[in-house]
């Protein structure tokens, strides 16, 4: 068969496939629905066959190029995966996220230790020697913290520049979720970045807590942080754990190549990040509207906090155990 004969014989099919695809890509919704999936699949398979023939017979470049173009476009359209939706989200929250956390238990414990040890050490040191705080945080920020958690602040934990809870909500979302993402992404450098951000944030939290306790502001400070920290601190530790998983896959790839190990680690640990983002959204809402309010008395806050902590920890340890 000569190239021209081949083109004459099948050219109409390629054009039909191309026009179906362009309707699928550029058409309106109604137009798309009229595209017959069956016809598309048939034409696609035939085009694949013809491409193989055209290559094997060394047909001229313009025929092979044309076939490559339509087959690769059809391939993209046919194998499109749609996994966004309410069902997917429910599956994620009910099963995938807590299961992924438990699958990474070792990393979670390591991340927790790396976060908690600096918190406790700096907390104690700053409590007994308050001036040490200046080696972690600069003086202006320390003064800010002091005024944020003083008894007569109109809302606890609010920046001087912010005048409403809503503004703080926006700030927490942008800032905290950003920190968590950073904690995860920097794990790519053999885990060093995640370790650094975990330790640094731990040290910061410890220093602030130690300093405010020493200054007698413990009541406002702890009643402020205790509720949302159930979500926020857990989420930061989890994102660090996901980052450590990525770093570990590069250091000890096991029986895979480093590139393959990285791909697998990223695919499995990114599930944790979905959950982390959701947890930080909840944390931001609690922090901005509940934790900061002066009219709720501390005992109520501690009670709600106990519920939150129990809820989060049992969700992570128990939820979705039996689901496959």
């Amino acid at each position: 068969m000569t190239p021209l004969h081949f083109e004459q014989l099948y050219g109409a099919e390629w054009d039909e496939l191309a026009s179906l695809l362009s309707r699928l890509h550029r058409g309106k919704r109604k137009d798309q629905e009229q595209v017959s999936g069956e016809r598309l699949a048939v034409l696609y398979r035939r085009a694949c066959e013809q491409l193989a023939l055209a290559r094997a017979r060394s047909y001229p470049a313009y025929i092979v190029d044309k076939l490559e173009q339509v087959t690769s476009e059809a391939h993209q359209a046919i194998y499109q995966r749609r996994e966004l939706g309410f069902g997917r989200l429910k599956q994620l929250a009910a099963v995938d996220f807590p299961q992924a956390v438990r699958a990474h238990a070792v990393y979670v414990w390591v991340a927790l230790a790396v976060f908690l040890v600096p918190t406790l050490v700096l907390g104690t040191v700053v409590y007994f020697k308050p001036e040490i705080v200046l080696s972690v945080i600069d003086a202006d920020t320390v003064a800010d913290f002091e005024s944020m958690y003083s008894q007569d602040a109109d809302a606890i934990g609010r920046l001087r520049t912010a005048d409403t809870d809503w503004q703080m909500f926006g700030f927490y979302i942008r800032n905290n979720i950003g920190v968590a993402f950073q904690c995860f992404a920097s794990g790519l450098f053999a885990g060093v970045g995640s370790l650094f951000f975990l330790g640094y944030n731990g040290a910061l939290a410890g220093a602030v807590a130690g300093y405010l306790t020493e200054h007698g502001l413990a009541a406002t400070f702890y009643s402020f942080v205790v509720t949302h920290s159930a979500f926020e601190l857990t989420a930061i530790v989890l994102s660090g754990a996901a980052g450590l998983r990525i770093g570990h896959s590069l250091l000890a790839p096991g029986r895979r190549t480093r590139a393959q190990a990285l791909v697998v680690a990223a695919r499995e640990s990114v599930v944790i990040i979905y959950g982390v983002a959701l947890m930080l959204l909840i944390a931001a809402a609690i922090e901005a509207f509940w934790s900061s309010s002066q009219w709720i008395v501390p005992p109520v806050k501690y009670g709600v906090a106990a519920v939150c902590w129990t809820g989060v920890l049992s969700y992570l340890t128990l939820q979705g155990r039996n689901a496959r």
Partner: protein, 233 residues
């Protein structure tokens, strides 16, 4: 083959058993695409700020949340759309696919865009650029972890109109490779200057029985053989 050393194409096999050729995009078009997206994002934030800032606290919250969304999810949103590319990439003729040629998955899109943070370090996408420049398939770190590839949307179709000349049967049987070479020469003919075309045609002159000769007449006869091989009689 020597072309394989130079080519940056990545081959992906489909379940139908054919090889799709993906052509990864290098660092220059991707930088341009990034800059275009960057300008678009600044533009959006500018408009948002004009609307939200006068609204006070709630407006600022809205602005901050939108800023957060633009910062992290702008590429994710567009990569999961039908075009598989942000407006910047689209305008440069690029799109993001999985490195096995499949459309990008939500998990992969999120991974590659979260790991942008790592690519950005130490400054101005230093590690990302380094990774792109060192690799044949121009993956940045996020692409490595997400197993994605930024490719050219489509290849230019080299449909060449071969001049209608009287077809001429070759004087000897030609192997498939020889046939392909002669046809490819004819396809390139309009883009070559006369002398160079004559030189190249002289190399193929055995197909029309003009061994050892060179000139416009030989060229015409070789191109006529190409017409015959294409199927004109």
């Amino acid at each position: 083959m020597t072309t394989q050393v130079l080519d940056t194409t990545v081959e992906a096999e489909t379940p139908e058993g054919i090889l799709l050729e993906l052509r990864p995009a290098g660092f220059v078009p991707r930088v341009y695409a990034f800059l275009i997206d960057f300008i678009i994002r600044i533009g959006i934030m500018w408009v948002v700020a004009i609307i939200t800032v006068p609204m006070g606290g709630f407006g600022i919250a809205l602005g901050l949340i939108l800023y957060f969304g633009l910062e992290w999810f702008y590429p994710v949103f567009f990569e999961l759309s039908r075009s598989g590319a942000t407006p910047g990439k689209k305008s440069m003729g690029l799109k993001v696919v999985m490195d096995n040629g499949l459309p990008i998955t939500p998990a992969a899109s999120l991974t590659r865009n979260l790991l942008r943070t790592a690519d950005f370090l130490p400054i101005l996408y230093g590690f990302g650029l380094l990774s792109m420049l060192l690799r044949k398939d121009f993956k940045r770190l996020g692409d490595l972890a997400a197993a994605t590839l930024v490719v050219y949307r489509s290849r230019p179709i080299t449909r060449s109109t071969l001049d209608q000349v009287q077809p001429l049967a070759p004087v000897r049987p030609l192997s498939l490779r020889d046939q392909a070479a002669v046809i490819a020469l004819a396809a390139r003919a309009p883009r070559l200057n006369g002398e160079r075309l004559d030189e190249l045609a002289a190399l193929a002159a055995t197909v029309s029985g003009d061994d050892g000769r060179q000139g416009p007449e030989v060229t015409r006869r070789v191109l006529a053989v190409a017409q015959w091989l294409l199927g004109r009689r």
